[in-house]
């Protein structure tokens, strides 16, 4: 039965009113981005010597990396543990991870003052620095993700290379080259898949080590030596909710029927992971005795409670319920809550918890910073749509076997 589903190009027009709105949002971000490159970081951001990092690091980079965790968690489940059932979701998750990390890299290059030196960490090493470790792993992982995506490209073009007139003599050799590439890739792919999982665990945790060196400048509710572990666990626990979330959105916007069966079983894997994360998170504030800070009423304590309650406890309870797992809308809400929780956690760690000794007032992101961040997200969605329309990423019922009625789709295939 499963073989009837096959990754195919989604046959849809690219431009819709939604796409046009997204393009405008992206354009707005690009305008501010131009300002940053022409006049310096100070011209478009609220950053200063007390608050050197803002939402470009907290959201674009830290949250971006965490929310792209769906890529390595599904690769581990589908490829390493060979759970064939989940093969349909591997490609979309891979695509999200690939795009997500591409935008993380973009986010880093606009945030660093000397963007043209972004390659320096490859040459100048500092093994003591958590940021160095993150940087190197991210560079390697982005490359790995692109390699993992290559077979999708070869699959699209093998037997389909049709260059026009003058270049037509290239068609045959190109085709041959693609076939060889495809064969070679198939042989070594396992290496890159495992590498991707290892690299992900490494930098997801190193990202947590980042703020440890800030020591007492960080609020004790978040500052803990187990930050790397918390970052890793939260990244793993947000992986599947993120896949569920985007499957539901993509199927809605592309007019497909979501594969609820696969998504519900994915949802069943969430509670144990989320539960472990929650246990460590609570255990940490209990053992270090920092829960006393929750009794004070301030931004930090409120944010911490929101993060844990809405981002972990409530969705954990929801994922444990069969009703939720079977309902599209409830499953969507539960997944969104986990995503919200992890997003908020990264913002909390990098921005809310950070309290420099001589601050003249809190940091708030400027219009420019917000525009760039939101613009990047819009660009990412646009790129996603462009790719699923042009490459076989999303699993659809195979035309050749279009006899059964189980997989009905609304107007996607003519």
């Amino acid at each position: 039965m499963e073989d009837l589903m096959k990754p195919l190009q989604v046959e849809k027009k690219y431009f819709t009113p939604g796409v046009i709105v997204l393009s405008l949002i992206a354009l707005n971000g690009l305008v501010f981005l131009a300002g940053r490159f022409l006049f310096g970081i100070g011209a478009v951001t609220n950053l200063n010597n007390q608050y050197p990092w803002g939402i470009w690091i907290g959201v674009d980079v830290a949250a971006g990396v965490a929310l792209a965790a769906g890529g390595f968690t599904t690769a581990a489940l589908g490829h390493v543990m060979h759970r064939e059932k989940y093969h349909a979701i591997i490609r979309p998750a891979l695509l999200t991870a690939m795009l997500g990390y591409t935008f993380v890299a973009l986010g880093v290059s606009v945030d660093i003052g000397r963007w043209y030196y972004i390659w320096h960490p490859l040459v100048f090493w500092n093994g003591n620095s958590a940021l160095f470790e993150v940087g190197i792993c991210v560079i390697m992982y982005v490359t790995t993700l692109y390699i993992e995506f290559l077979p999708i490209v070869t699959e699209r073009f093998i037997g389909n290379v049709r260059l026009k007139s003058f270049f037509s003599f290239l068609n045959k050799p190109l085709n041959k080259f693609l076939r060889i590439l495809d064969k070679g890739l198939a042989k070594v792919m396992f290496f890159f898949i495992i590498l991707g999982v290892v690299l992900s665990t490494l930098h997801q945790s190193s990202l947590g080590t980042l703020m440890i060196i800030a020591g007492p400048k960080m609020h004790p509710l978040w500052q803990t030596p187990i930050l790397p572990l918390l970052f890793l666990l939260s990244a793993i626990s947000v992986g599947f909710p993120m896949v569920i979330f985007e499957s539901l959105i993509a199927s809605k916007s592309l007019g497909l029927k979501p594969e609820m069966e696969v998504l519900s079983s994915l949802g069943r894997i969430v509670p144990p992971i989320l539960g472990i994360y929650l246990a460590f998170k609570i255990g940490d504030i209990v053992i270090r005795g920092t829960f006393v800070y929750l009794l004070q009423f301030n931004v930090q304590s409120v944010m911490f409670i929101i993060e844990v309650l809405f981002g972990a406890i409530i969705p954990l309870r929801m994922f444990l319920s069969e009703t939720v797992l079977k309902s599209k809308i409830l499953l969507f809400i539960a997944s969104s809550l986990v995503i919200f929780g992890v997003l908020l956690n990264r913002i909390n760690n990098f921005i809310i918890a950070y309290h420099p000794p001589y601050s003249y007032g809190a940091y708030y992101p400027s219009v420019g910073e917000l525009s760039v961040t939101i613009g990047f997200i819009a660009l990412l969605i646009l790129a996603y749509r462009l790719i699923v329309i042009n490459f076989p990423v999303i699993s659809l019922p195979d035309k050749q076997y279009m006899i059964q009625t189980k997989f009905t789709i609304r107007g996607s295939q003519k």
């Binding site: 581990a76 003052g113 500092n126 093994g127 940021l131 080590t209 980042l210 020591g215 400048k217």
Partner: protein, 297 residues
């Protein structure tokens, strides 16, 4: 197919581990310079002596070729109205506080980079652009820096500043302990110009003895605390005061070297790449076994 896969796996793992062994030896070499010399120099700042003339601010700017107003303008004491911090335009600044012992004579405090013995900025810098030199100075290599500002996040005293208004080649700016001057036997610019004896330049170990002596002989004049002796694991710049350091805007970073925890975690996870390679092998094993099981079905 199965055999093929396994052989492939072993072969690739072998290549991987040699590559990584190569990398890790490379890596141990590739750490920033961090010398903790016995004879490192330092400065003892006696805040009870400072008159707040701000000549040191002027001299610092001149020595570092920063734009500055004429020297006379520095006698303007309205600058003390608000707490200032070292910035990209002024690597050292003097702040004024009230003096509990004598309300007529305020307490003036010169601040700049502390030149930590275990500097967070050196440990944190992604490309190793910061270094701790033999004479105690913590300096910065302009050619390496990528402008990530992690050093600013890491510094417990919130010292490094950044040229946010520059689109090209923005720099991290902080006191460099007049590295270029001391190299040729000159005094740091601020020490040289100070008209009273606020600033004493010398080997850090000597300075601590001097500071202890001062406290011992003038117990009414000083509180019994040499700020910088143990703060953040010790700093090259040391301070004496007649009131609690929290009152004159010094943070309390604790006595442990700041980079300790993060470095041990970092090295724990990456100890010669053994844990990652081990993890890789486990995943490879799982992959192989589950595949075999699938095929057996």
């Amino acid at each position: 197919m199965q055999k093929q896969n396994r052989r492939d796996f072993l072969k690739t793992s072998a290549i991987l581990s040699t590559a990584i062994a190569g990398l890790s030896t490379n890596k141990t070499k590739a750490k920033p310079k961090e010398i903790l010399s016995e004879d490192r120099m330092g400065v003892l700042v006696d805040t009870t002596v400072c008159i707040g003339c701000r000549n040191c601010e002027w001299a610092c700017k001149v020595a570092h070729e920063l734009p500055t107003k004429p020297k006379e303008s520095y006698s303007d004491r309205t600058a003390f109205k608000k707490l200032r911090r070292p910035s990209e335009g002024a690597l050292t600044v003097v702040n004024e506080f009230s003096n509990p012992q004598n309300l007529n004579i305020p307490t003036d405090v010169k601040v700049q980079c502390m030149h930590c013995d275990h500097p967070s900025c050196v440990s944190a810098c992604i490309v190793g652009a910061m270094s701790k030199e033999e004479n105690g100075s913590v300096i910065w290599d302009t050619d390496k820096c990528i402008g990530c500002r992690y050093c600013m996040v890491a510094c417990p005293f919130q010292v490094p500043s950044f040229q946010y208004d520059k689109a090209l080649n923005p720099k991290i700016m902080k006191c460099d302990f007049c590295f270029e001057r001391t190299k040729i036997g000159k005094l740091p610019a601020c020490v040289e110009i100070c008209p009273v004896e606020t600033l004493t330049y010398g080997p850090r170990s000597e300075l601590i003895k001097i500071a202890r002596d001062k406290i011992k002989h003038n117990p009414d004049r000083y509180i019994d605390h040499i700020y910088g002796e143990n703060e953040a694991g010790g700093t090259s710049w040391l301070y004496l005061a007649n009131q609690d350091f929290a009152k004159i805007a010094f943070p309390n970073p604790g006595d442990k070297p700041m980079p300790g925890t993060s470095e041990s975690i970092q090295h724990g996870i990456f100890a010669y790449f053994v844990p990652p390679v081990f993890f890789y092998a486990i995943l490879g094993g799982i992959m192989w076994i589950t595949k075999k099981r699938k095929e057996a079905e």
